[in-house]
């Protein structure tokens, strides 16, 4: 049978290539760890306990830690599906070569998204164990924290990859920064949603990272409610739409 699950070999290609560049690995998870130490612990020393949007009172560092976990999942998948994907799409033409074989555009998209999830998942796991060691994990629900990271990663990977197919120059990556930076700062990462006026709250609720933070905070603090299911579906939908869009665009760009 021709062409069964050929995304496996897109993944294989990335694993083989990455064996030579393992040192790049370090950069991905360092950032959220640094934030946890500087903001969570440093700033946390000055700040009183925080009341979450669901009425739980926790230390500031314990409030920030789940948000940093969600952020690490976002960063991990964005790096591979935007910047690295663009380089392979436009410059090294890795996918032109693959599409000359029985592989199809969605094999490329699925393979690359899975690779970003493996890499992002490892970052998240490292961060999770740092948080666990420091006592920020309060509940057995946190067993689901790593799978939830994969869900967050998939949403950002799908949408990020789709958006990247519309980019024509490295300058356009400013837009990625422009999207990620405010999301990182305002998705109820460093303070509860309640501090915003109502109108702004709705805007924040559209941000995928907000839903990622909600899920991780719920799991790590043991404050699990039905709203988390809604957040999960939102992220799942973004992942699916992103994958669909990215596959179509790869086809439009390369099979001309």
């Amino acid at each position: 049978m021709v062409g069964y699950a050929l995304w496996r070999f897109v993944l294989l290609r990335d694993v083989l290539a990455f064996r030579r560049m393992w040192w790049l690995f370090a950069s991905g998870f360092a950032e959220p760890v640094f934030y946890l130490f500087s903001i969570g612990i440093g700033l946390g020393a000055l700040v009183q306990d925080v009341t979450t949007d669901h009425g739980l009172v926790v230390s500031y560092a314990a409030f920030v830690a789940p948000a940093m976990l969600a952020t690490s999942a976002m960063n991990g998948s964005i790096a591979d599906t935007t910047y690295n994907f663009f380089a392979k799409l436009k410059f090294s033409k890795t996918y032109d070569t693959m599409l000359a074989t029985p592989a199809r555009p969605w094999d490329v998209a699925i393979g690359e998204i899975l690779w970003s999830l493996i890499r992002g998942g490892i970052y998240s796991a490292i961060f999770f164990f740092v948080a666990l060691a420091m006592g920020f994990v309060r509940s057995w629900w946190a067993i689901l924290a790593i799978p939830a990271c994969l869900l967050i990663g998939a949403a950002f990977a799908g949408v990020g990859m789709w958006a990247t197919t519309y980019m024509t120059s490295w300058k356009h990556f400013e837009f990625v920064t422009l999207a990620i930076q405010p999301m990182f700062l305002f998705s109820a990462t460093f303070f509860p949603l309640a501090v915003y006026p109502e109108a702004l709250q709705w805007l924040v609720k559209l941000m995928p990272l907000y839903h990622g933070v909600e899920i991780q905070r719920g799991l790590m603090l043991g404050d699990v409610h039905w709203g988390l299911l809604g957040s999960s579906f939102y992220l799942l939908a973004l992942a699916a739409v992103g994958l669909w869009g990215a596959s179509r665009r790869i086809s439009t760009l390369l099979l001309t």
Partner: protein, 322 residues
Amino acid sequence: MCRRRSPALTLPTVTDDLLLTARDLTKKFGDFTAVDSIDVEVRKGEAFGFLGPNGAGKSSTMRMIASVSPVTSGELRIFGLDPAVDGQQIRARIGNCPQKDLLDEELSVEENLWVYGRFFGLSRAEVRQRASELLEFAQLSERHADKVEHLSGGMKRRLVIARSLINNPELLLLDEPTTGLDPQARHVLWDRLFRLKRQGVTLIITTHYMDEAEQLCDRLVVMDKGRIAAEGSPRDLIDRYSTREVVEVRFDTDEHAPHAAPLEGIGERMEVLPDRILLYADNGDAATAAIAQRGIHPLSTLVRRSTLEDVFLHLTGRTLVD
């Protein structure tokens, strides 16, 4: 994009030895027509060439055959299959050697073959076995663990060809296989292609080198501006569109046009180029003698055999390499 067989345009039954048929095959990019309703047939085991200058539509044709570029209109069948419907099945049986050496620079020489082979459904063991055979064939065995970026141009080209053979293709597509290679590397490559042909692999080659087409192709079409200008074996085409020999006459001057009139009548036909005048004659030496008899003293005269370049010049009024 997904054109179905229309009842008015049925192809003759694909006989056993026809590997590819194209009828009114057309490729447009917006308003630009890259390939303008060409008809082509390629038989099994044949080495078939598309000869033409850059921009003639050769690569667009090759990409449609490789089933990575949708046909705009007309019909194309490869192995009797329609690329719009069975692209995956067709690609599984083709070896594709694109114009640019698109190797994976982040992988080693052998990893390039391994990964590529897996896409064709070969197992890990099969791919390793096949890769080592092909590296032998491409004379790259010693470089198997090297990074691709350290290979020379000729080696990269051979690696691309090795890669395109990993699935034991029935049809090998070679888009400008020797462009940018030094003469020695070209001969090594030609030798490898001859071997494949002897093994029964059908070759479709594009080139803008006349000598390459004459060396490699049993049959070829001359393409110009998206259309087919002529078709036949290299020998046929030369016989049909040129004379046996050509005399290249140069004068010590910037402008050759004024020298044309006195040469009128020598040979069968004359072509005036900026830097020389070509006299087409079956007997070059006789033509040279005739020039001297008229008391004309060119800077140099060179008698040579006709080539496909002369055919192309005759058909289009332009030189081929641009």
